[in-house]
Amino acid sequence: MEFRDDIYLGITGVIVTLSAYFALYIAPAEVTMGELVRIFYFHLPPAIICYLSLLVSVATGLLYLRTKDYKYDALSESGAVLGLVYGLITLISGSIWANATWGVYWNWDPRETTTLILWFAYLGYFLLRMSIENPERRASSAAVFNTLAFLTVPLSYVSFIIWPSLHPQLGGENGGLGLTGTMVQALVMNIIGGVFVFGYVLKKTYDLRTKRDEYNSRMMEEM
């Protein structure tokens, strides 16, 4: 069966709209954070999209090193693009949350700091790609760099376990978020919406990269 982008996008739009409505108006306020807990429902999906994108990026980068097939390099770069975009959304939305709950936009909390390091590591990935003209060298160097840069992803994820942090934890006891019932449903719905968004933007970004490669190789042949 043929994949229909427009139908998939329509379904994604419906899921994201319904889950946003549910999180805003159906889920109750949390005991300690009150209404501000709703920020979490919209902060987590971009963070998950960022992590998933970078996971795809590193996995396909390694597949490129193994097979030397450029389609894996294209997918790896597409994942890194989305990691950068959604990493930035995560950082900004996290600082909005920080200001609302801690009174400052940025306080070098381990989660904030390691996510910022992650973002700069992948900015470095693109600077590296831009600095190498030879396609094979560019793809290989980027894949190796990606493997090292990806170490910042688990570091960011477990940072609040390794170092003392104010970042809320799901079900945590000390300052954690005690989400129950409808709140968990709101969170799960928004995560599902985020995963649908991830699927769409990754496919379209990959399509764009492969079509541009096709166009550039035709131009080279004609020269």
Binding site: E35, F42, V201, T205, K211
Partner: protein, 37 residues
């Protein structure tokens, strides 16, 4: 409802919509270029 909730929702949704619009347009443009060559 605190304004920060809407700020975070808006940031996520607007960036996603703008990115999707851009990537669809860029795909169409490159399709057109590939078709005319």
């Amino acid at each position: 409802m605190p304004v920060q909730v809407y700020q975070v929702l808006g940031l996520y949704l607007i960036t996603t919509i703008v990115y999707i619009a851009w990537v669809i347009k860029a795909n169409r443009d490159v399709d057109r270029k590939n078709a005319t060559r």
